[in-house]
Symmetry: C2
Subunit: 121 residues, 2 copies
């Protein structure tokens, strides 16, 4: 009952993830998110609660889906800007790290950051 959502949450989270990767967590404004999703602030806050909620939802989805493009981008943004200030994000990233510790994870992270910076590829 009640009105139906006019958007697909997963598609929106993909757009939100992309803008967080492009501009960083603190570098992304609500206006940026409004612009890239086409939704208005009220809908975004009704769905995700806060900017941190938007980041957490995008990060979780990218890890569940193993969407590599979003996953690596959001992980390095989280590690640099969010992890140290948000326990929930720290726990998510830590759980992921524990699960992937055995692989050459440090080198992979470094390569992703080099890509992100535009220094390689």
């Amino acid at each position: 009952m009640g009105r139906k959502k006019s958007f697909n949450t997963d598609d929106v989270l993909s757009q939100i993830g992309q803008i967080f990767i492009k501009k960083g967590y603190n570098g992304t404004s609500l206006d940026d998110i409004v612009e890239c999703t086409g939704l208005l602030r009220g809908s975004l806050y009704a769905t995700f609660g806060s900017k941190q909620g938007m980041f957490i939802s995008a990060l979780k989805l990218s890890l569940e889906r193993s969407n590599n493009q979003l996953k690596w981008g959001l992980l390095i943004v989280a590690m640099l800007e969010v992890t140290s200030r948000n326990k929930k994000v720290y726990d998510i990233v830590q759980a992921w790290y524990v699960e992937h510790q055995n692989e050459k994870i440090a080198e992979k992270i470094g390569l992703e950051l080099l890509k992100h910076s535009g220094l390689i590829e």
Copy 2:
């Protein structure tokens, strides 16, 4: 001739570098820099010109000095938040990268980001 600076520029840049590492580039406000250096906005702007100027000066000094603690922290902040929006910073980081390409630099960067995030050490 004229009044002398009341502070040591290199010491101040070390303090500025530390706050940029702790809070990230976009996460660091001018008030943060005022607080951590003990200087006022006017002195900071008279010396460094802009927030970007403060970051560039701190980054350059850390690379010249090979101050590892600052160097790695500022490099990863630069790569994630600044490089893609500031040509000057991109060029500085690129010059550093070209010079260190032969070492296992990706792994080193990854380890530094893992440290920064609090996941290791």
